[in-house]
């Protein structure tokens, strides 16, 4: 087992890793930017090193600073958390070259998964459906036309190098496709200095479902069920649950079996997530692999009883899954996570600042992952996550009721948070019934704020944000 590891992250996930390390008897080194001097991850780590100014490109994203901190503290492992350097294959490589174990997949696997086309090929060959589309970059409008003809309209054009909606276009019929290809190409060229676009079948109102898995360093892989992540706003997940109300036991078992094989075949080690879109017929289509721990891992921990972060550490230390996991995995009850962000719940404008009053909800079936405390500051430099509130119940109804009472007892003063938004979500008929998709939040906002017209009433943007559920970045 590791003697001491460095945690190349901040906030709740840094604290989460510290918890796992304390339970395993591993010493921890926190790194922090000048903005995080008074953070709890700094307080609760055994050692702490300031690695740079607030700007993350000069601190949490700065590979030399992180590696130097690891070297001078003489650690034998690095946990990257999520975001920042977690899916940076170069960082993983530098760690290994420096004789420090990177707690995550091997650099070449991170690189493979980072390339959507390569990941698609691997997954497809394991017999898992992928969204139909071009095999690579479109060479001409003619190619687009014949492909769209084959897979059926509507189709989506996407920038090969892009993200965030730039270079994206939806074509609903043959007549408009050539012009949209040209538009997408020139927008992509302007935005990303690369005009390459590709084409994919558009699922109009998909559900977003992902499978959690673990692989050890001896060729064994286990699937820990799925998470439903359709409650999103602008590609940002807000609420996740497990199991998904939409997945049949048969499809779950079939998909798990194929994923197990696929991940085994590529030698995937440590924790990862496979993301899918589900169409209106309940079919799953692969989108991408996230080669790291996810924000929403606690819902899986609650229903399986498996400590995923401890498992990551034990896998990286060479242990076998057979010694880490109860086999077969047993699933029990239902879990929901609400992301409590420092944001205006209506406009989603960030709301950094000092937390002047705090009451964390407690009691049965409630878990909070947070680095917040009374008088702590949510700095404007990083993501807006203040706390993850997770509840577990014997069934979905109980998990919802518990979440509602926990939200009711969660007091955060001094900043705006998404707590009121979550209360709306949990009280909506669509959510309670389980019949919803990635367009859910757009409709909810519309219903509640129709006196306050907002920019997202722009119809094109609406469609894009709906269609782009696939692109949610964690």
């Amino acid at each position: 087992m590791f003697r001491k590891i460095l945690i190349a992250n901040r906030g709740e996930i840094a604290l989460r890793v510290i918890c796992a390390c304390k339970e395993l008897g591993i010493k921890t080194v926190a790194v922090y930017s000048e903005a995080d001097r008074h953070s709890l991850h700094v307080r609760f780590a055994d050692e702490a090193i300031c690695i740079g100014p607030a700007k993350s490109s000069r601190s949490y994203l700065d590979i030399p600073s992180v590696i130097s901190a690891a070297e001078i503290t003489n650690v034998d492992g690095v946990h990257p958390g999520y975001g920042f350097l977690s899916e940076n294959a170069d960082f993983a490589e530098v760690c290994e070259l420096s004789g420090i174990k990177f707690i995550g997949p091997k650099p070449e696997v991170i690189r493979q998964m980072g390339s959507k086309q390569r990941a698609r090929t691997i997954i497809e060959s394991a017999g898992i459906p992928i969204l139909r589309g071009s095999r690579g970059v479109l060479n001409s409008a003619e190619e687009a036309l014949s492909l769209a003809d084959e897979i059926g309209y509507p189709v989506m054009l996407k920038a090969a190098e892009g993200g965030g909606g730039r270079g994206m276009r939806i074509a609903r019929c043959e007549s408009e496709l050539p012009a949209l290809v040209a538009q997408a190409q020139s927008e992509a060229a302007a935005a990303f200095s690369c005009g390459d676009v590709y084409l994919e079948k558009l699922i109009e109102a998909p559900r977003h479902i992902e499978f959690q898995f673990l692989g050890d360093e001896h060729g064994d892989v286990e699937i820990l069920g799925e998470r439903e992540c359709s409650i999103q706003r602008r590609h940002q997940k807000l609420l996740e649950e497990s199991p998904s109300p939409a997945l049949s036991p048969g499809l779950r078992a079939r998909t798990s079996d194929r994923l197990r094989e696929a991940m085994r075949s590529i030698g995937y080690t440590n924790a990862g997530t496979v993301e899918f879109l589900m169409d209106e017929n309940g079919e799953l289509y692969f989108i991408e692999v996230n080669a790291r721990i996810q924000v929403e891992h606690p819902v899986t921990e609650f229903v399986t009883g498996v400590d995923i972060v401890k498992s990551q550490l034990r896998i990286a230390a060479g242990e076998h899954l057979d010694d880490i996991l109860p086999r077969p995995i047993s699933f029990s009850g239902h879990a929901i996570e609400c992301r409590i962000n420092a944001e205006n719940p209506e406009t989603f404008a960030p709301s950094p600042g000092r937390i002047t009053g705090l009451n964390l909800p407690c009691g049965i079936g409630v878990r909070v992952d947070t680095a917040a405390y009374t008088d702590s500051v949510i700095p404007p430099y990083y993501d807006s996550l203040v706390a993850k509130l997770i509840t577990h119940g014997s069934d979905r109804d109980e998990a919802i009721a518990r979440m509602k009472r926990a939200l009711d007892m969660f007091v955060i003063e001094g900043i705006h948070t998404t707590i009121p938004l979550h209360e709306q979500i949990l009280s909506s008929d669509a959510f309670v019934s389980g019949r919803f998709d990635t367009t859910f939040l757009t409709k909810l906002n519309y219903n509640h704020n129709h006196n306050h017209p907002e920019e997202n009433h722009n119809s094109e943007e609406l469609e894009l944000s709906r269609a782009a559920g696939s692109l949610s970045h964690d």
Binding site: Y32, E34, R37, H38, L40, V42, R43, A45, D46, E47, A48, I49, C50, I51, G52, P53, S59, P64, S65, I67, S68, A69, E71, I72, T73, S98, Y373, T374, D375, S376
Partner: protein, 168 residues
């Protein structure tokens, strides 16, 4: 608000024993917290562990006087003892990177600078080794080395004070 006015406020704040004073005039803002802290400094959280926690609570790599503001009144290695007024004029040279501090170009060479040395801008003061690279840290002003705060071979973190320089 003039410096004199601010100084006056500082003195009032200290003499009255209040904990915190914040004055805002349009764009300008002054906030004073007295050293006393709220009543009993060890009882609040996490202010309880302010400088100590964040930089040295369990850090074996910590130098003797980290992050000190104002500078230590009498750096052990500083023969030309300076009065408090003089100290205020001293300039801190801080580490721009995380790494290991070396005060000489090689193990057997004499140090780049000694306390009391007169230095010029761009003169090399020390080396910080980071990822096998030797980064020379240069002086930005002309002056005299008042204190060397880090032992040769010790790790330093970002922003840690390495030298005090009295500018000329």
């Amino acid at each position: 608000m003039s410096i004199d006015e601010i100084k006056e406020l500082i003195h009032v704040a200290r003499d009255t024993g209040i904990y915190e004073l914040e004055v805002q005039q349009g764009e300008n803002k002054v906030r004073i917290r007295t050293a006393a802290g709220p009543a009993n400094p060890e009882m609040t959280f996490p202010a309880a562990i302010p400088v100590p926690v964040t930089t040295s609570h369990a850090i074996p790599i910590q130098p003797p006087q980290p992050q000190v503001t104002p500078p230590p009144s009498e750096p052990s290695a500083a023969p030309p003892a300076s009065s408090p007024q003089e100290e205020d004029k001293n300039i801190k040279v801080t580490s721009p990177i995380v790494g290991t501090y070396y005060d000489a170009p090689s193990p057997n060479a004499p140090p780049f600078v000694k306390v009391g040395d007169r230095i010029e801008p761009r003169q090399v003061l020390c080396i910080i080794e980071s990822m096998k690279l030797m980064n020379e840290i240069e002086a930005e002003v002309a002056g005299t080395v008042v204190a060397k705060l880090v032992e040769n071979g010790r790790p330093v973190e970002y922003g840690e004070t390495l030298f005090l320089i009295r500018p000329v």
